[in-house]
Each structure stands twice: as C-alpha cells, then as structure tokens.
Symmetry: C2
Subunit: 504 residues, 2 copies
C-alpha cells in the first residue's frame, strides 16, 4: 500500500486516490461500530425466526450481478446486512435453536477469535510464529489434563496435540498416518487394496467420506450395524467377527473409529473394549469425541473415555460444546512421528535453523494444509476467563436442562423418549397408540416437525435410528435458559394437540 | 446456560455462581476493549521486532502447567498478552515483513471476519444457513467476473465456486474428484495404482503431499524439472514427453497442476499450452493461482490466465493478496457434479425438503469437512468497501514498490536480480565477483540473510532455484509504504557493506 507516486500509477486508478485499507484509527472506529452491531444482534436475537423463512434464490434477486467498481460506505453495507443478510440467517445462536448440536460460544471465545485474526500469523513453522506454536502446545496439554488423558498424549509426556479445522481433517490425518505405517510394513503402496477401516452405522457420515478421500477402497469401509440392544453403540463381539472374516479373506484391518457421542443419538462406543480389539489386531484406533468429549472434563462423565490410554488418537471439537466459535478441532496423537512421517514437507523457503537444529514443532507437518490460523488464543482466552469450574458448570447446566425436557416428555402419555439420554440431547417422538401403525406414527412425527419448524419459534431436527423416525431436541445454545426449554416443550405440545385433534 | 437450580448443581461448582458466558452488555464492553487493544497494536507495530527473537520453549517456562480452576480477569489476561505472547510473535502485519508472501489484510476484512464469527452459522446445507450459502455463491461469481473467468466457472453459467480453508484443501478436493471419475471409467478402485499426477519442481510442496493424502502412489507423482530457460515454468514439450512415457508404460495421466506465481520465484506456468496437453490426454488440469491470481483482476496481468476456459478447476487465496485475513481459498470448478459425486454425504439428520426438492447448493458436498464458517461475508465486505478500483490500485501499488526495489538492486553493482520479477517479489543476491566461487557466494548470501533477520528490523527469506541460493523480498504487507521498502534496501546495503569489508 501506501505512498505511491502518482506519476507511476495507472491512470484508471488515479480517481480513487491513495488507498489505505488498514489505517489504525479508521480500523478502530469501524470495528467499534461492528462490535455494537453484533452486541445488538445478540441482544435482539430472540426477535428473529430461528430457522430462516426465505425461499431458495432469495439473495440473487436482491444483489447486483457484479462487484461495485467504486467503494460503498460502511453505513450502507450495514443497512444491507439488516435488510438482505439477516432474513436469510438460520440463527444458530438463538436460545431457541435445538437442532444438530447447538453452537456454544462465549465472549472470551470471541475476543480470542478477534485477536487471533488480528495477528494474522501464519504459523506453519515454529519460527514463523513462536507464540502461536508454543501456546497451542500448552493449551493442548491443558485440555489433555482437564480430560485426564494419559501423559502419552501430552507434549509434557511423549505425545502431543494440534488444533485443526474439523473432525474430518483430524480423521483424515489419522487415517493417512495409519495407512502410511501399514503400507510401509506391508511392503508398498500396492497393498492399499487390502486395507480395511471400521466404524458403525452410527459413525458420522464424514468417516466413510474421509476414508475415501484417503484412498481406502469403498468396498473396504465397514459400517458395523448397531441395534437398540447396545443403545446403538458398536458391539465388540460383532466387530471381532467382522475383523476376523476380513483377516480370513486376506485383508488387513487398518483403522477403527470409535465415537463417544454420535450425532443422531449421542450413542457411546465402548472405548476400552474396542481398544482391546484394535490393539490385538494392530489397528489404529481413533476416538471421535467431537461433541461429548467436552463433557468428559466433568468427573461424572469421564468414564466414557476409559481405555483412552490404549487408543492412538482422539479428537474433540471445542466449537461444539466448549464455548468456542467455529472452527476448532483438537487432535491428540500418541505418536506424533507417525503423523509427521505422513504429512511433512520441507521446501527450501521454509528451511530455517530452528527447524533443523532445535527440533521445534512445525505444525504444518501435523495437518492437511501449510498455512494455519492462531487458533490457540481463543481456547486460552476461554480457559482463563472462565476457569475449569465454570466450564464444568456450563456442561452440567446443559445436561440439567436436557434432563428437565426428558422429564416433560416422560410425563406426557402421548410421547416417549426413544433412546436413553446420555448428555444434553433428547430423542423423542409421538408414540404409537392403539389403532396406529408404524407408517402412521412416522407421518404424524414428520408433520409435527414441520409445524414446529415452520413456526420459526424453535428449530429441531429429526433422525432415523433402528428404523424409527424420531425428533431430536439438543440443548446447548449459549443463550438458552430453562425458560426457553420450557417454552419449546409448550410449543411442541400445542402443535401435538392440534395435530392429534385433526388426526382423531 | 442459564438459570439452573442450585439444588441440582454439583457442589464443586456452586462457588462460581450463575455462569453467563455471552451476556450482550458484557460482550459489548469486552469486545470494545479488544478493539482498542488491536488498533493500538497496529499503530505501534513498527516498534516490535518483525521476526520474534525468543528461544524455543520460551513460553512453557512462563505459563502454568494446567488451566486455572477459577476465572481470571480480562485485565490480567491482556497484561499477559503484552508480556508473554507479543514477544513471541513474528509480526506478519509489520510493514517491514517481506518474507514468504506478506499478509494483506484490511479493516473491511476484519469487520467481515467479526461478523462471520459472530453469526457462527454452520452452513453445511442450504437450510442451515441460506444467507451463508447464497452470499458465497454470489461472491464467487463476483470474483469470477473480476478475473474475467468464462461463464463455465460461474453459478450464473454452468459451474460454480466454493470458499475453502487453503489451497491444499482445494487441490485435495480436485484430485479426488478427478480420481473418482477416472476410477469409474477404468472400472474400479484397483486402478488407483495406474494414476499419475504432474506438477513441477517449483510447484508448492503441498501438491505432492496432497496427492499422497488422496491415495496417489508416491511413485506416480511427477515433479517435472524446470530450468532458468523457461524462468522455472513447466515446459510443455518436457511435460508431453513425460506423459507419453507414462502412457507407454501403461499408466494413466490423471491430474496436472499448473501454477500461476510459484512460491519461490513467482514463476508462471503457461496455462494455455498446458491445458491443451491436459485436454488432449484427458487429464484434469488445475490452476493454482494462490498468490498471483489476485493480480489478474488488473487487465495488465489477466493474460497469465489465458487458456483458463480449458481448465477444470482454479484456486486463488484472497488471504494472500486480496486484503483478506486467514483463512480463505476460492475454488472454482467447471463441473460441480464431479466434486459432489466424490464428496457428498447424506446422513438422515441433514435431510431436508430444500435439499431434496429444490436442488439448492449444499456446500458440505464441495469440501473436506461437514461444518463450515460463513467466509463469504469478509469477501463481500472487502469488495463493497473498497470497490474493484481500489483493489486494482492495491495490487499495482505493491508491484510498483517491488519494481522500485528491483531498480535499487540493479543499480548496485554488488547485487543482481536472479530471476525476472513478474509481480511483487524480487529474487536477488550478492553476485559473484572476480575470485569468488559458487560456495563462497552462497555463504556470503546466507550470512547476509542471517544478519538482516537477526536485526529484527526486517524479515526476508531465501530460496534455492536452479541450484542458486537467493534472497527473496516480497512486497505486500498492508501497512508497507515506499519508505519501508527504501529502509529495507538501506539496511541490506548496510549489512552487505560490513560483510564485504570483512570478507575482503
């Protein structure tokens, strides 16, 4: 930027004058304006429909076909955000958002995001941003301590952790690290056709996608069937049978993904027993605890990670339930060298004495990309601003509100809780009644969902597990209070009344 | 969060009271504090060493081993940012940062980042955030227009674009889309052993890494040697020879990565001629224009993309040269269906009427992960706040300053420009002199780099191309003005004086 000599400038630009896109006082003024805009949005968020009510293509009709040639004022842009953007928002931070897993965020998370953005440090190597690398190492050890992970996952022990974007990236890096180790011991790349990966029919669909991305043959990805008998978690004996059949067929068990808290119903795979099998067959075992891992900072939930000392990698997404804005996924690995062997690059222009002689951590070798954001700051701000005590209280409060909703459902004879509640998600439905059949019940529940969501007053989603169509109410929105959960139940009951009256 | 009944709360948390991590007025207050902190940091950034001067492990000695149990005040945390974090920062936004490609950011980019963060919408499907999806489609078309891409890359035509994290992600998605198409036409996954990918020895190292991630056999990744004769760009005839040898050996040419603006020297592969070869052999051709693509919004640089109408995909990172904070990579594809065929998932809980009946864009099927940030906002804010005119002016100003530095180097008989300058990067060195030899010259240049960087006053890096060790000065920092480039040259000359005096 800057003080360019007007004589050297292309004539076509001379009309726009000297362009300074980061003048500190202008930055200050505009950023203060945006802070107020955002604080007001949070303050008024309950006034907006949770689920956007616009039709596909709504925005193309409102915006010009090309970018403006000349600048427009911030005032005008902010008007357009109100007019054109907000109506198209499905408001994830609304206290009446109970879909998927709601977004848990926080002021401290926002401050950390602002600061990490502002530094804009691209910490691919240690030297390119020592603070970003070292704070990430420390924060990953801090969270490992909070989860009571063994030293084998900590930098202060023999392992270590890295912050990535999403669970998909964490899984991809783990699968490829496992794949490279296996191909090496099998004697070459041609053996890729033999490698088999295991999850369950409840494992997040990104698991199969990620396996495919990593070159695992689609025919070698096993999604083990689960049943209500194990609350839709992987049965160790079923897994063992499938692994042994693969071995007998000359295949090589490579990778097992266990989930602590599946997306549909928060089912919990038995980590300890699955790790035993994985260890026995020399498979890499990864624990995907994207959502429920955060609950394990509370002693009463920690047992879900029992056996973690025998797994190879573990991921948890603080943007799901640890008050962190998107995107942020923690990945811990027991053997960082296996990650590095699969993922390292060494271009001349990134060579430096620190990396060559000091054995520092260069996080580019722990992830998919080269560039990376300073994500550790937001976690550091959250951990320090709230302390472990408040973070535990936050988890317990959400669980408590889900329990309350569960009681509401149980107390109404027209409804049932379909799958036992484990954390802050309740899976429920209008239950079968004398004279109804399965198809009829499914249609009723679909109608109920449609009525509830099109009201714009709350947002919930459905799932189908074990052949049963059910509704999911997930508590977790940062702004959600008891009164919102109570109102959600009243709304659901109200629509159920109308629906059942009409049906009878 | 919220009004939890004290009787239901674990005793260990009762001391922390009611926890409200996103109370709008507290958010407002704290965010204003952080805005002032950041504006002051930008204002004073020249006072900090560009390259951090700390030693490895500096931070572990300063921070506690575990996260605090109880909250700490923002005041205390901000003090620690000054005391512990900033000294460990390599300050990428310093106007004296000339390493890698400097970070170009802007106030508008920051506002967009704030707003996108604040909404925290997880736009995996259209319905989960219509505004996020539709604004992204519009902004991708806007930038496509600015680059004069053909309609075949636009939603308003037959293609479309998506915002991803990094070039690595864009390449991985493209490679896997190409791979799936090839395996299908070859009759199955077993043919993966035959697939060959081509780049050059100047292609970013993440290319080979990404091919490996995507299951391409390491022995099938060709890095075509380049020479000074073509300014280190791929020679079409050399490529053709290698492709034909692979075909003769029974292999299948799959993927070609052409780079417009390599990292070492901003070499420019001839897109049009390479596309002709790729089309002839039915390879997928991707153009990686991470850095230099932004320059192509100026008519005088657009010719570097000539032939783009014949390529399959193109990526460009606005966080490199289009005033955008990390992370942001634009990927355009000609046939979105090929991406979707390789990357789509369809879990029950994401099924919705819009996706099934309205044929909306669900961006989860265009990327590695499922969750995704609202990245389009920052580009929209940048494009509208500055207009195309100012963005062109920004590119030209950086190029102009690089030209000025190039003239400085050329005017000093002790130095030489090693590779012709194409954009805003100058590759130079202390040149050979009577009585010197290659090893000696390399040592002198290494020493010069070491002296310059350890001063903390500027930061530049080296590269080695065609066997020659050279220094790189890349102009592009948003706060960089002519005076900084002049001072950088004075500093380099000053150290060269000392070095050559000592050497003589």
């Amino acid at each position: 930027m800057g003080s360019i000599d007007a004589n050297n400038v292309d004539l076509s630009t001379s009309s726009v004058g000297q362009f300074k896109p980061l003048e500190p006082e202008e930055f200050r003024k505009q950023a203060h304006t945006m802070v107020d805009f955002i604080a007001d949005y949070y303050k008024n968020i309950e006034n907006y429909p949770v689920l956007s009510q616009v039709e596909p293509g709504y925005l193309r009709d409102r915006l010009p076909e090309t970018a403006p040639y000349l600048p427009e004022s911030l005032e005008k842009i902010v008007q357009d955000i109100h007019k054109d953007i907000i109506p198209g928002m499905t408001n994830w931070l609304s206290p009446n958002f109970f879909a998927f897993f709601p977004a848990t965020v926080s002021s401290a998370g926002f401050l950390g995001e602002m600061l990490g953005t502002a530094f804009n440090s691209v910490g691919f190597t240690w030297v390119s941003s020592p603070a970003a690398t070292e704070l990430e190492m420390i924060v990953m050890d801090w969270i490992a301590h909070m989860l009571k992970l063994p030293k084998s996952f900590m930098f202060s022990g023999t392992g270590g952790g890295v912050l990535q974007t999403t669970t998909s990236e964490s899984l991809l890096c783990s699968i490829v690290a496992a794949r490279e180790r296996a191909l090496e011991s099998l004697g070459g790349s041609d053996n890729i056709s033999k490698l088999v990966a295991y999850g369950s029919d409840q494992t997040h669909t990104m698991f199969a996608k990620t396996c495919k991305l990593g070159g695992i043959f689609p025919g070698n990805i096993r999604l083990i069937p689960t049943t209500a008998e194990t609350n839709f978690s992987i049965s160790p004996s079923v897994l063992r049978g499938i692994v042994e059949a693969d071995l007998a067929a000359g295949l090589v068990p490579l990778f097992l993904c266990a989930t602590v808290g599946t997306t549909s119903t928060t089912a919990i795979d038995p980590v300890n027993e699955l790790a035993e099998i994985a260890n026995e067959y020399k498979m890499w075992i990864h624990v995907d605890a994207a959502y429920a891992g955060s609950a394990c900072i509370c002693p009463e939930f920690r047992h879900h990670l029992n056996g973690v000392e025998r797994v190879d990698s573990l991921s948890l997404s603080p943007h799901k339930w640890l008050l962190c804005y998107l995107d942020c996924c923690c990945l811990w690995v027991k053997k960082p060298n296996l990650l590095k062997r699969a993922l390292s690059t060494n271009p001349e222009y990134l060579r430096n004495q620190r990396s060559e002689f000091d054995k520092v951590v260069d996080y580019k070798d722990w992830q998919v990309g080269t560039g990376r954001k300073f994500r550790a700051l937001k976690l550091w701000l959250i951990l320090r601003s709230y302390g472990v005590a408040n973070l535990q209280s936050h988890i317990r409060s959400d669980v408590q509100m889900a329990k309350m909703f569960e009681e509401f459902v149980k107390s109404d004879p027209r409804f049932e809780v379909v799958v036992p509640r484990a954390f802050s998600l309740v899976c429920f439905r209008l239950k079968p009644f004398p004279g109804s059949n399965a198809a009829h019940i499914e249609i009723l529940n679909k109608k109920l969902l449609e009525m509830v969501n099109s009201s714009g007053r709350i947002y919930i989603i459905h799932t189908v597990v074990g052949g049963i169509y059910m509704l999911r109410l997930a508590v977790g929105g940062t702004l959600t209070e008891e009164r919102h959960v109570c109102a959600a139940w009243e709304l659901i009951k109200e629509f159920a009344d109308a629906l059942l009256k009409e049906a009878s």
